[in-house]
């Protein structure tokens, strides 16, 4: 029980810390800090998406950057069409986040359904390689398709809007991202506590037994994979708005690796694992990136040590390895 209390305390600390530091930064004129924390929130959101597939469902997707990148392109492309007034597929573009987000989520979900339908026919190492390969396919398509910037990516000149807020101000954009992150944490907790979540976690442990109970593992996994892609796609749309740039690099395999790193370092399948992981990764980059240009070498060594010696990530370090599900 003590461990569960510690996990709750850690979760509260992370959620509040993520909010309080930017508030402090707002009153002390440190917009860079706010932007940093916005990045943490968005990466954590993308991680929550992957955490559903990987943490709960045991599906090691090495291609989740594809949804992250796609969400970014949705934000960029719709904004560009709103900007120049040209219709897209007969519809007008938009710069409203509340329209962009559902579009990004639906398209990411559809892509995840297609990729999942092929990839989930396999398992283990095949699944890892195939999700990676499909993501690379879309990446190369984005890079070689000239209409929306190709290799150069797509700039977003004015950030997309949220009703009642000025998203060009760092703190107001941060609040939007923090709110979405909290919502997504709620969705994750709900899924984990639901019958669907129980089935998903049981399939991770033993698909044959679950099948013998009359539940179709493929359907449950595919549904989880689609939800997972949708959340990561939403994060991508937010990231494009933060950096005011829809970049093919957001789809690159390194980003997929980074997302895995975030949830493993944080704690696989743990509610606040992605938050802890994203905070660690961004903090590490800022701190060591300021000390040496070779900070990635040190990140590699820390990662290696984490895999070899500490299994369960930051959350497990503080709150024990036992997790729900």
């Amino acid at each position: 029980m003590a461990d569960i209390k510690r996990e709750y305390a850690l979760n509260a600390l992370l959620a509040l810390g993520l909010l309080l530091v930017p508030i402090w930064a707002l009153y002390n004129g440190a917009p860079f800090t706010i932007t940093l924390f916005t990045r943490i929130a968005i990466l954590a959101l993308a991680g929550i998406g992957l955490n559903i597939a990987l943490g709960l469902g045991g599906m090691v997707s090495f291609g989740h950057a594809v949804y992250f990148g796609l969400g970014g392109y949705v934000a960029g492309i719709l904004a560009q069409h709103a900007f120049n007034g040209a219709p897209i597929l007969g519809l007008p573009g938009t710069n409203q986040m509340l329209i962009i987000w559902p579009v990004a989520m639906v398209l990411s979900g559809l892509l995840a359904a297609v990729i999942g339908a092929f990839s989930l026919r396999t398992s283990g190492i095949f699944f890892i390689m195939i999700t990676l390969a499909f993501a690379q396919m879309v990446y190369y398509f984005a890079v070689s398709w000239p209409a929306y910037g190709g290799e150069d990516g797509l700039p977003i000149y004015v950030r997309n809007q949220f009703p009642g807020l000025n998203t060009m101000r760092p703190f107001e954009l941060f609040i939007v991202c923090w709110g979405v992150l909290m919502l997504a944490l709620g969705v994750f907790a709900l899924i984990r506590a639901s019958r669907f979540g129980a089935a998903l976690m049981a399939i991770r442990q033993n698909p044959d037994r679950v099948a013998s109970l009359g539940i179709n593992p493929f359907g449950v996994k595919l549904a989880a994979f689609v939800i997972s892609g949708m959340i990561t796609g939403l994060a991508g749309a937010l990231m494009a708005d933060l950096s005011r740039f829809a970049s093919p690099a957001a789809m690159a395999w390194t980003m997929s690796g980074e997302l895995i790193v975030i949830i493993i370092l944080g704690g696989t399948g743990r509610l606040f694992g992605p938050v802890a992981g994203a905070a660690f990764l961004v903090g590490f980059e800022v701190f060591f990136g300021g000390l040496t240009e070779h900070w990635k070498l040190w990140l590699g060594l820390v990662l290696l040590a984490a895999v070899l010696f500490n299994r369960g990530g930051i959350v497990a370090l503080i709150a024990g390895r036992e997790r729900l599900g």
Partner: protein, 305 residues
Amino acid sequence: MTAALLFEQFLNGLQFGLMLFLMSAGLTLVFGVMGLINLAHGSLFMIGAFFCAAAAGLTGNFWLGLAAGMAAAAAAGALIEMTVLRRLYSRDHLDQVLATYALILILSEGTKILFGPFPLYLDVPPLLTGTVNLGLTEYPLYRLALIGFGLLVAVGLWFLIARTRLGVRIRAGENDREMIAALGVNIRALYTVVFALGAGLAGMAGALVGAVQSVQVGMGEPVLILAFVVIVIGGIGSIRGAMVGALMVGIIDTMGRFLLPRIFATFMEVNQASGVGAALASMLIYLLMALVLVIKPKGLFPIHG
């Protein structure tokens, strides 16, 4: 479009495919024998290219460079096998992915520290410069030599696996790890040898390709991902599958990039056709992979049943 151009592109595809085979062979062996997914295989390719370029620059001799590249990659492979990867054989694939991703970061930054942040250039050896007349077309001698070299290595590898004592052990290791350990084979040493062999092949590919492209940090990962496609198509663990898959990927990718824009140009505006053609061509091998998976989920030549 002439037959000569088409023939030339076919040879380019063949050459590309054979270089992919050198990469894929090691990757597929390591998975087949040790059950390890190694993302750092691309880094070994890079190490081969860098050490080859540096040694060739120092001595002025490409062949010494090639030997240095292979030796460096094999040594690096043996070193990471003994220090890190050995601890991962019994872990799940997720841990292996993460640890070898960490190795990519370490090896890439390490290479940057050792050789500096700028690309190196490697000259084609004087013996193999110029072109050769193949009847239909003039073709660069070096690329032709790469084809010959690739075929030679493939035959050598086949001989090693099918006809030598080491090969018997490797095949036995693929079938039943515990059993060959029980029969008194030093399985740890065998793993290190297999890993060093795969690393050496990757280093060789890097060194050979280094002479036709620039040698830079990050050159290994695109090849690594193509090698994944190759072994998924061929069946993980199968050398024969790696050969077939590599040739399919090499030839289809090269021919697709050459033909698709031209095919689209017959019924589209030229500008648009080159854009659509190029975009589709870059997706072609992944579509091939999806198709193979639909028909044979374990690849064309699955090793276990």
